[in-house]
Amino acid sequence: MVEKTEQGRDGSTRPDAQMNASEVEAWFVREVLPLEAILMRYLRHNWRGQSDIEDLRQEIYVRVCEAAFRQLPDAAKPFVFTTARNLLITRARAGHVIPIEMVGDLDALGVAIDTPGPDRSAIAREELRRLQAALDRLPARARQAVILKKIDGLTRREIAARMGITEATVSEHLAAGMSALAGILYGEPADLGHKP
């Protein structure tokens, strides 16, 4: 009998990947996505080029997750915003765009960062209200497709028949609806009274 404990782990795991994808995904969904609204506000306030805000957000998420694959950060908020600030500084130096006011003031931002996110205890009814509000703002065809999918639970084929369009077009509407929903649900403050 041979005891060869740890052989596989030492010999095979990439040295920089300690976490598996589903752990990082769970952390990302739980800790990072709820910050998206204040992250977007931060980016809009501190970056002149409004057209590439989403690219910046993506880059920040990639950097944050890259780090999370090595080790999950203890506190997501300061980590995300430090990453964001560093990225803005790097981009500004590279001369892509000149930042409006390069806020080094993570401290000033600290107030905003510590604003409570969506109240986790309120959930069900509040969440439903929010989803309905988000739904109302989708483009008409996308909204109809999403309603048939999520509320009526129809398949793509049934939706196509109901709307009198091809399945491929249903797919496009659903994909567009999905993208828009994510932007509203995560990218905008939970309190719809505040304009971003």
Binding site: V2, G11, S12, Q58, S171, S179, A182, Y186
Partner: protein, 316 residues
């Protein structure tokens, strides 16, 4: 860095297609796309999370049909009566009740895959390699079918709507719990890691036997025959080590270890010689790293490893 809107559109298209069910080759293409760049993966996670949140909209189903509300209030009682009748009548009726419906959702993983599904009710199901789950999760009903493979269930308990997992004619009903189910062609294994479940087994006389299983208990069913055993939490932890992408062997025969690897990889390990098939090994391996395992066979056990196409033969 590719443009975010473009990646977003690709991710959304994948998610939409996946909901309708992907073929094995499509699933492989999706996995390849995800592995292609972290930006792809993150965009996919983000949209998936939003899209799953939107599952809550199902609560609005029939909300406007107030006229039907009165009728509806009688339904739960009828359903309960029906449920009692079904239990008494046994498996034959169940087959009718649990027929597939077009609104059922399919979730699957390819060989070597690992996927976590979060349902709107808070239940989490982790699919191990080469697994198919069918789901009917509505406000009134929570049924999952383990069509094949292995999955780990973390159930949000709701006494009024217990979650039921079907595996062929066998049925597991949650009583507030975490459990593991593995379905092979002729064998079903149910292991309870926390809380309790009811395990229902079809009898020869089409009656059903219900067994309560509690934490640490493992039921192994081959057809109507069931054996029960108790395992240490350590052994159970090892049984779900695939959630971390690793296989843990302790006093495991080479043959069993090879069979485990073969579940996760397209390359097949073959050990034709019974004299070495029963050599026992221990260790922790990455499930998809067959190379680390053959290295142990060669360097530590002094065996010979030959490759023939897709097969890796270990011999003396």
């Amino acid at each position: 860095m590719a443009n975010a809107a473009g990646i977003d559109a690709r991710a959304a298209a994948w998610l939409e297609r996946r909901e309708e069910g992907l073929s094995e080759s499509d699933e492989a293409a999706l996995q390849a796309w995800l592995s292609g760049s972290l930006a792809n993966r993150v965009a996919y996670w983000r949209l998936k999370a939003a899209w799953e949140r939107a599952d809550r909209l199902a609560a609005l189903r029939g909300a406007e049909k107030n006229s039907a509300a009165r009728m509806r209030s009688f339904l739960p009682l009828l359903v309960k009566i029906a449920a009692v009748m079904i239990v008494v009548a046994g498996a034959g009726v169940l087959g009718v009740t649990y027929l597939s419906r077009p609104s059922d959702r399919l979730y699957s993983t390819p060989v070597g895959g690992h996927e976590t599904v979060r349902f709107a009710d808070g239940t989490r199901v982790e699919l191990n390699t080469n697994t198919i789950i069918r789901a009917r999760m509505t406000t009134g009903q929570r049924i999952l079918w383990l069509e094949k493979g292995e999955a780990y269930f973390q159930v949000k308990h709701d006494a009024l709507h217990p979650l039921v997992v079907m595996a062929g004619d066998h049925r597991v009903t949650d009583l507030g719990t975490k459990f593991l189910m593995r379905r092979d062609p002729s064998r079903l294994e149910v292991a309870v890691l926390e809380g309790r479940v009811w395990f229902d087994v079809p009898d020869a006389e089409s009656a059903r036997t219900s067994l309560p299983l509690s934490e640490g208990q493992v039921a192994i069913a081959t057809g109507p025959k069931v054996s029960l055993e108790r395992q240490s939490m350590r052994a159970l932890d090892n049984a779900i080590s695939w959630r971390r992408g690793v296989l843990v062997f302790r006093d495991t025969t080479l043959a069993d270890a090879a069979a485990e690897f073969n579940r996760y990889n397209r390359e097949r390990l073959v050990i034709p010689d019974p004299a070495i098939a029963y050599i026992k090994i221990g260790g922790i391996f990455q499930a998809t790293n067959v190379g680390a395992f053959t290295e142990v066979a060669e360097d530590v056990l002094g065996l010979t490893v030959h490759r023939h196409g897709n097969e890796i033969v270990i011999s003396r």
